[in-house]
């Protein structure tokens, strides 16, 4: 029995990953509900949604898309790096991912404050004078991008925890489930944005 004394603790990474996926399913349905609301109101007030969506800055949206796509790649690369046992590269890639996430949030900050300057924020007098459809569009815009931004921040926290764990060596080429699951979470954040971006910024 004691042939492998160093492997007494059993880590079932397959099950751990399945658990993460089940959690991601609930996340997908959380956003799905909002997408469904968007779809129905868009069908009902298509003209208003047209006008309101034109207010959004497609350039900022595109830049943020690029940030998230690149960060998704660096997160996937970080997993490859830890699997290959390259600690320094893993840390570097995780930090690049966090930096890109931070740039996304900074961009979002400027985007939102620009809207606020024009008096477009939830419950503002300007918004109350708009048509029903525009009101709904901006409501959904703040709800969906806000909830997404919250996920970006949570993702940044998860990635930071990974940086510490990789540094300490508790996450290594043998045990990297938390890094794998954090990367999955980060890809989900990217995945949701892939749908949000065309629906809010491009379809004008």
């Amino acid at each position: 029995m004691a042939v492998h004394p160093t492997h007494t603790e059993h880590i079932d990474s397959e099950t751990g990953k399945l658990g993460m996926w089940l959690f991601l399913f609930t996340e997908i349905f959380l956003f799905s509900g909002l997408f469904l609301v968007y779809a129905i109101f868009r069908a009902k007030y298509s003209a208003d949604f047209h006008v309101a969506a034109a207010e959004l800055n497609a350039f900022i949206g595109t830049i943020n898309t690029v940030f998230l796509l690149v960060s998704s790649m660096t997160a996937a690369m970080a997993l490859t790096a830890i699997q290959k046992g390259n600690k320094r590269l893993t840390l570097f890639l995780l930090l690049v991912t966090i930096l890109l996430a931070a740039l996304f949030i900074v961009n979002k900050y400027f985007e939102w404050s620009h809207k606020f300057e024009y008096g477009i924020y939830p419950g503002s007098p300007v918004l109350k004078n708009m048509s029903q459809g525009e009101l709904l569009f901006f409501g959904l815009y703040y709800m969906m991008t806000g909830l997404h931004a919250l996920h970006v921040v949570i993702g940044m926290i998860l990635l930071t925890i990974n940086v510490v764990k990789v540094k300490l060596g508790t996450v290594n080429s043998e045990r990297y489930l938390i890094l794998e699951n954090s990367a999955l979470y980060w890809h989900l954040v990217d995945l949701i944005w892939i749908f949000l971006f065309p629906l809010l910024y491009l379809i004008t």
């Binding site: 399913f25 779809a39 796509l69 790649m73 997160a75 996937a76 997993l79 890809h187 990217d190």
Partner: protein, 94 residues
Amino acid sequence: MKNDEKHISSYSSLVIVLVILLFLTTISVLVTGFHLGAFTVAVALIIASVKVYIVLTQFMHLRFENLFLRLAVTGVFVLFALITIGTFIDYFFR
């Protein structure tokens, strides 16, 4: 158990995936500038779906996962599609 036979994505393959994703984003931005009317929505959503499929299979390694997980993920998206269709039918033919 499966740890030994785990697939490790190569750096170069991940870069290629990113290039494809950025290419699709560019197309998506350009196409919506053409004002194709109702087609704009369709084209934008089709491109987004292709991108999501690529992220799921490549970045999230679903390509190398077991059949159960792949079916489960497919099931989630099929369920969402059914709910959407059901809601629209209910909404427009009530």
